[in-house]
């Protein structure tokens, strides 16, 4: 066993961090959230293409299909960096769509979509030419993100997978005032034809995509959770009250220490789930990464005092994004049920 990152994996993570620092520095994030609401809803297509060119969406696409040919662990590392930088956009759905196009290139078809044009959309996802968002019709019915600027919607029913033109979904959706200023959201009417009272299936391609989506979302949460530890610790070292850095007060130290514990324990589950792809591991990863992202942002806010309650500090952006991500794919209740079911299942598992 060697659970540590390989040199290549380290290099990949460092490369992604460097790319984001160059292409999506803090000033860009602030421009998105400080501009007027209309502008904030737009997605930067040029950046999306740059990300595509750098291989973010093609990491898991086979080399034979023009991809990078790596696996889920590498995708998780890249998405962790995206979460850390609060990179906006439907990254997960676009990555999954790119994966489907890989399957197409290998002679398959996008299940549930007959139109040839849609295969083209999937192929465009690989290069970052198309923006694909997601509609999860099997789970908690999260609002659809970035619908107005997406080209296509990856619709996951209980057992079905479809790629629908975004305009078609937009016709039956209404925008809500998103709590996250960088993630515009639409509420969609439930599609009864697609709903299955038995809930989402546990096997098949829809189930697999749903699990991968949960894991990649967990990776983003992990990135945010580690970032808020850094923000809190930096502030605790710099801010002085009562003649010493507030980080010298045990109350503040314990907040920061607990944040690190949350981030690191969720990191180990997220990475392990990327290796095993086991449904129970993925449920644990999503559950704990959601919790780490939300609670770390809350504690980071507390450590910042009055500053943490301002729009100007980035803390609230982490909290609000964490709320959005926690509601996407496998939410806490579903993850807990999955894990509880695992305790009484007859299938043999090792911890």
């Amino acid at each position: 066993m060697d659970f540590q990152l390989t040199d290549d994996q380290r290099a990949l993570r460092a490369g992604m961090r460097e790319l984001l620092e160059r292409r999506f520095p803090r000033a860009r994030l602030r421009a998105v959230v400080d501009g007027d609401a209309e502008r904030g809803a737009e997605l930067d297509r040029a950046l999306w293409r740059k990300l595509g060119a750098a291989g973010l969406f093609a990491l898991r696409v086979p080399e034979s299909a023009g991809g990078v040919g790596l696996g889920l662990p590498e995708a998780v590392l890249a998405f962790e960096e995206a979460g850390r930088a609060l990179l906006p956009g439907p990254l997960v759905a676009t990555e999954l769509a790119a994966g489907l196009s890989g399957a197409l290139a290998a002679g398959g078809a996008v299940p549930g979509s007959s139109e040839a044009g849609l295969s083209g959309l999937a192929a465009g996802a690989v290069q970052g030419e198309t923006v694909v968002t997601a509609l999860d019709e099997g789970g908690a019915r999260a609002p659809v993100e970035h619908l107005a600027c997406a080209d296509a919607v990856l619709a996951l029913g209980p057992t079905t997978v479809g790629l629908i033109p975004a305009a078609e979904v937009a016709r039956a959706a209404e925008p809500i005032r998103s709590v996250d200023p960088a993630t515009p959201l639409h509420r969609t009417a439930p599609n009864r034809a697609r709903q299955d009272p038995a809930g989402p299936s546990r096997s098949g391609i829809a189930a697999r995509l749903r699990r991968e989506a949960a894991l990649l979302t967990a990776a983003q949460q992990l990135g945010s959770a580690s970032r808020t530890v850094e923000l809190a610790v930096d502030h605790a070292k710099r801010r002085t009250q009562f003649g010493r850095p507030i980080g010298a007060f045990q109350a503040v130290q314990h907040l920061c220490a607990q944040m690190l514990v949350r981030a690191e324990s969720s990191r180990s589950v997220v990475y392990a789930a990327a290796v095993t792809e086991d449904p129970g591991d993925i449920a644990a990863a999503k559950l704990l990464a959601d919790e780490a992202a939300v609670h770390n942002a809350r504690d980071c806010l507390q450590v910042h005092g009055g500053m943490g309650f301002t729009w100007e500090a980035d803390v609230h952006l982490h909290l609000k994004r964490a709320w959005v991500r926690a509601g996407q794919w496998q939410c806490a209740a579903a993850a807990e049920e999955e894990l509880a079911a695992g305790l009484v299942s007859t299938v043999e598992t090792c911890l």
Binding site: V252, F309, H316
Partner: protein
Amino acid sequence: MDLAFTEDEEDFRHRLRAWLADALPMLPDRPHPADWPGRRAYDCGWQRMLHDAGYAGLHWPKDAGGQGATPTQHLIFLEETERAGAPYVGAGFVGLLHAGPTIAAEGAAEQRARWLPPILRGDEVWCQGFSEPDAGSDLASLRTRAVRDGDTYVVSGSKIWTSHAEIADWCELLVRTAPVNADTPKHRGITWLAMPMDAPGVTVRPLRTLAGTAEFAEMFLDEVRVPVTHRVGEENDGWRVTMVTLSFERGTAFVGEVVACRRVLEALARTAKANGRWDDTVLRRRLGRLAAECAALWRLTQWNVSEAQRTGGVPGVGGSVFKLRFSQVRQELYEAAAEVLGPDALDAGQEWVADRLSSLSYTIAAGTSQIQRNIVAERILGLPKGR
């Protein structure tokens, strides 16, 4: 131990209920949250109605323009107004809950006559200029200077997080009048001043909160001239004067909100029943637990109020116990609300979502939870002062 109300108290409650039933329908529509002048007018209008009906400054002493009511009557007032859905003090918060009581307790006769009636009538709005960029939790290290020039103080420095600064007429300001040195510890050289917000040299720059609204502001003071007659208490005695204010703030300022918590909790249960989430045992039990927390906060309030009634008015450090628990419960309540709302919890247009965002400040404003725990540990439990 007796939780029953006297005949007088019940009588008071009934008269108040009857008045509320007549008065509330006469209120204008609530202004938009971002409409500050509108909010000021609305809040002050309500205060004027209370005043004209004899309910302003209920528990303030008669010689301060109050009604001299008992703390229990005051509690009944806060409970009934909240239950009836009456407006919250809003823009009147600092005047009615900090500056006013401070002036009533520490001010000279002519100061009371000048400042208290307009507060009670809803004519003048106050803000609180205590915190500074480098003096938050460590308030006593504040550096805004006031230099005596004949019969005026010349004030320079900056304040931050000043709620309602944009619509205030007056600011209760803490300034440094003696430099900190070996003879003067930092909380010795502080003075309490009433500063008119329209004085030359006062610049207010609104700050945006994480909820996207501008509830507080930065205040820059450049050689602002404040008459010496605007000083409450002695020069360099402002810290003690201030502590009276702060204990008022932690004492009864949140009573209405405790009642509101219970109301929100009942609404959450109704919504959960309607949208099916009530079937989730975990959520149902969570709401049940919160009902216990609300009950405890209400009983703790009654306990503190009875204690104040016996000891003669000024709330003690027990306020810290209340504030710690209340701010936490308030945040947990809106976490539960998010659970009830499900995907709608991401819709900032929902009232509970806005309240969830504002609840995030409760563990910070008016003394952070860490500072409150230090106070409980050191002053109530007598533990050694830590670092």
